[in-house]
């Protein structure tokens, strides 16, 4: 099976990014895997509502908006997923009893949306000067019914795939911060995806580093 775009299975789509695109936010970033584009704005640390205040660390609030359709439980799931992972990557203990608000807006969705969101978050958090334990990057893959593994799939490819996988790695490469795989898949293929994702995450991190300079 070949990919419609003429890409090879292990090639990512062209990456594009921009930082500081929102002038009212404390930090912002836009990240695009070709057509899939997510904009992320970071506000904070700001005052937190008493109810959400935490003694020893900052409270994160993640808001995810799609470009089309009504909000559903899908957004809540993505928000909780992003929040739990970002909580581990941001040095929240440096800003106790404050709020860091991270807002995502999908500009266009052509597959690998969650990965684009994570990558946009990394750009925006760095832009906002929020201390991180490390930079991070996310990679999506999918496995087709014939066993081919496609890196950075488009929406059509995700639709045809038997299983879909999202990974988040940090620059220290200690392990996966977040894994979400669904659909039937073999463990050996999963292991392969893990390795591909770890390698590709490094490529994205290098790209981010270059984009920063």
């Amino acid at each position: 099976m070949t990919r419609t775009s003429g890409r090879s299975n292990g090639t990512m789509r062209p990456l594009r990014s921009a930082k500081g695109v929102l002038n009212r936010a404390d930090g912002s970033g836009r990240f695009a895997h070709d057509k899939t584009t997510v904009l992320c704005g970071v506000y904070g640390p700001v005052e937190v509502k008493l109810r959400d205040e935490q003694l020893d660390k900052a409270t994160l609030e993640v808001i995810f908006k799609q470009n089309i359709g009504l909000t559903s439980t899908r957004e809540k799931f993505l928000e909780s997923f992003l929040k739990e992972t970002l909580e581990a990557l941001i040095m929240t203990n440096l800003h106790p009893r404050t709020l860091i608000q991270i807002t995502f807006q999908t500009l266009q969705n052509d597959g690998s949306l969650l990965s684009a969101a994570f990558n946009a978050a990394c750009m925006a958090l760095m832009n906002a000067g929020i201390p991180l334990h490390s930079t991070f990057a996310s990679v999506s893959l999918c496995i087709l019914p014939n066993g081919d593994i496609f890196l950075d799939p488009t929406a059509d490819e995700e639709e045809q795939a038997e299983s879909r996988h999202v990974f988040v790695f940090d620059s220290r490469r200690e392990g996966a911060y977040c894994v979400h795989s669904d659909g039937p898949f073999l463990q050996e293929k999963f292991d392969k995806c893990y390795d591909y994702a770890a390698l590709s995450a490094k490529v994205i991190l290098d790209y981010m580093k270059a984009a920063r300079e």
Binding site: E53, L55, D56, R97
Partner: protein
């Protein structure tokens, strides 16, 4: 077992004028009546003790243990986690006002020199307060901070009634310390 078991609404016996009503009972038409399920105590002390210990809420005079949630110049806000020796399932909120921190030199008390967020304190409920939290006091020797961590994250050791020391860095921090020795004897 000779213990008599009663259920809510069951008559325990006629009320006598010299008697005070015990927990778990009420008066109905000259009789003492149970309000909870349980076993009846000795017959001169008509009382019922059921699972009501589970349903503990702070009362005036009760000793409570809790964690300091936040402080400001006027008060420390405490999450009440235990009433007496009984852990509560869900925390209640209480405040220690600056004038209730200690018994002497009340006008010199500075909250940040007595409590820090995260400290575990023992206090007494002195009033149910008005609209908001339970009003607590630590103005007794056996009340105050019973557990605190230093900036280095170590459990600090009390060295006087107003100081605690970090065993790792040796740094001394100010607290309104609870004198545990007195209570455990």
């Amino acid at each position: 077992m000779s213990t008599r078991i009663v259920v809510p609404g069951e008559r325990l016996g006629p009320a006598r004028p010299d008697q005070t009503l015990q927990a778990g009972t009420y008066l109905r038409g000259g009789n003492v009546v149970a309000t909870v399920v349980g076993a009846v105590g000795a017959d001169d002390q008509v009382s019922v003790q059921g699972k009501s210990r589970k349903a503990a809420i702070p009362t005036v005079g009760a000793q409570v243990t809790g964690k300091v949630k936040r402080i400001n110049s006027r008060m420390a806000i405490v999450s009440i986690m235990m009433i007496g020796a009984q852990p509560v399932k869900e925390d209640f909120e209480g405040v220690i006002r600056v004038e209730n921190v200690r018994a002497t030199e009340r006008d010199k008390v500075q909250i940040p020199k007595c409590f820090r967020p995260g400290d575990i304190v023992r206090a007494e409920v002195i009033s149910l307060g008005e609209a908001h939290s339970y009003i607590l006091s630590t103005a007794k020797n056996e009340l105050g901070v019973i557990f605190a961590q230093s900036a280095a994250g170590a459990t600090m050791i009390p060295i006087s009634w107003e100081e605690m020391q970090c065993p790792v860095t040796g740094a001394i921090e100010n607290r309104k310390v609870c004198q545990i020795e007195n209570t455990s004897q």
